[in-house]
């Protein structure tokens, strides 16, 4: 993947590496016991994490090992026509699902997200954004996953996933380059607005923070910011993605929510007070 990222790099901008697009993923296998009623969910959802596209096959090998250990104790519901059986029709066949979290801010900013999503659906992939608190596709981190598992072997499904994820990464990297070359003002505007809100806001919900930090992460990844690294931006995003809005629905809950949002706003004001465009960015955008 690194070689592709280096080839895509125009030379005048900092290197755009694939791992900045793919934030990791999982390979899952859904299994259910033989001869027993199904529950609300699959009885077993075996999973292995992977961190780059090259890791998917080793992760699958680990998954098979895990599955064999379980199969020795409990036979799985299976039939020759539909493969592994599940309470969900889309989990039959191999029962395999490969998913990845992809940060597609570049494609969003150049306005290419709708055709990309349509293309994904047409190749039997699904994509879900983070929809919370009235914000649709917050932060433009998409969970992209295989939506078909019957009629193809495990190898074919994994190879298909590798091709689609690699293609998405390539498109996102091209979108970032295009953004800087052709739409610098759009990029500059989205980052500047986000920084202004983070510096001056008085109340900020976790989901709003997650959404606002997205163009800033992109600028950090591309090496255009001083005072914030990609790792720091990732840590903030991870924290907000993991946060759950579990405050009670009551007047007391509203007060607690305001307190929480005020606390997040204060921290953001302090953290982003000294984050600014660096010299390289100023040269490019001037």
């Amino acid at each position: 993947m690194k070689s592709r990222a280096q080839r895509d790099d125009s030379g005048e901008y900092p290197a755009l590496v694939a791992r900045d697009v793919i934030c990791g993923g999982e390979i899952l296998a859904f299994r259910n016991p033989h001869g027993e009623k199904f529950g609300e969910h699959d009885a077993w959802c075996l999973s292995e994490e992977w961190f780059s596209i090259d890791d998917i096959r080793p992760a699958y090998a680990n998954l098979v090992e895990k599955e064999s250990r379980l199969a020795a104790k409990q036979p799985f519901a299976w039939n020759p026509e539909f493969g592994y059986l599940s309470p969900f029709l889309d989990h039959c066949g191999t029962g395999l699902l490969v998913r990845a979290d992809l940060h597609l801010e570049g494609l969003h900013l150049i306005g290419d997200m709708p055709p990309v999503l349509n293309a994904l659906y047409s190749v039997r992939f699904g994509a879900e954004g983070v929809n919370m608190d009235g914000i649709k596709n917050a932060s433009h981190v998409f969970d992209v996953f295989t939506s078909a598992s019957l009629g193809a072997t495990e190898d074919e499904i994994i190879a298909h996933a590798e091709r689609v994820f690699a293609s998405l990464v390539r498109q996102e990297l091209n979108a970032r380059i295009r953004l800087v070359r052709e739409l610098p003002r759009t990029f500059e505007d989205s980052v500047a607005r986000a920084l202004a809100i983070l510096r001056e806001c008085r109340l900020l919900s976790p989901w709003e923070l997650l959404d606002i930090i997205s163009p800033i992460r992109l600028a950090a990844v591309m090496g255009f910011l001083d005072g914030l690294t990609r790792q720091e931006a990732d840590a903030i995003m991870r924290k907000q993605l993991a946060a759950r809005d579990d405050l009670p629905d009551s007047p007391d809950g509203d007060r607690m929510r305001d307190e929480r949002d005020a606390d997040i706003a204060d921290k953001a004001n302090h953290r982003f007070a000294r984050v600014k465009w660096n010299r390289r960015a100023k040269e490019i955008f001037s």
């Binding site: 033989h34 299976w78 493969g83 059986l85 039997r124 019957l150 072997t153 495990e154 499904i157």
Partner: protein
């Protein structure tokens, strides 16, 4: 040759009649006398088959027609009831009791057996959303031999074609034991 009963018209047919002492006699008779002797078996010339069977307007049908109709109706009723029974069997999963109507609403199989019972609906749904309609991936070690299942399915089809239902039922049981497809859900034709 003249009719042996009326001795007037020409004899046209043979009539077997029981004599008073119990022995049978063979008479060569005309059509009119034959009809007089056996009104329901000898049809007077010119009478349509329908009129012969069902009688003329206002006439009662001959007694054998009533018996024949009863037998036919009984047979057809039996077939209809058998059809209803087999339909009922397909409408509910025998293992978990899930009804076809409920399955059509939520498309959620309640147990592995539901995949057999509602296979027709499942195939339609999967044809739209999946790469193919047949599993081509790995099989678990404990899975039945796919070749044996395929062979049994072929035998099952042949038995149904020959209407050897006893043999078909035995094959179906064997298939179900192996976890393969039961008889009422034949495999989709491979393209």
């Amino acid at each position: 040759m003249k009719c042996e009963i009326c001795h007037k018209a020409e004899a046209e047919t043979v009539l077997n009649r029981k004599k008073k002492d119990g022995t049978m006699e063979e008479l060569y008779v005309c059509k009119k006398c034959a009809h007089a002797e056996r009104p329901h078996t000898e049809r007077p010339s010119g009478e349509s088959p329908e009129a012969f069977v069902f009688g003329k307007d206002g006439d009662d049908p001959p007694p054998f027609v009533e018996d024949l109709l009863k037998a036919t109706l009984g047979f057809m009723k039996g077939i209809a009831e058998q059809g209803k029974k087999s339909e009922k069997k397909k409408d509910v999963c025998p293992a978990c009791g899930k009804k076809r109507k409920d399955f059509m609403d939520d498309l959620r199989p309640g147990c592995p057996q539901c995949w057999h019972v509602f296979a027709d609906v499942i195939r339609e749904h999967l044809a739209l959303s999946q790469y193919g309609v047949r599993h081509t991936g790995r099989a678990p070690d404990s899975a039945p031999n796919v070749d044996i299942c395929a062979q049994l399915e072929r035998q099952l089809k042949a038995a149904v074609r020959k209407q050897d239902f006893k043999k078909a039922a035995a094959i179906k049981r064997r298939l179900e034991e192996l976890g393969g497809r039961p008889a009422n859900n034949p495999p989709a034709e491979d393209k």
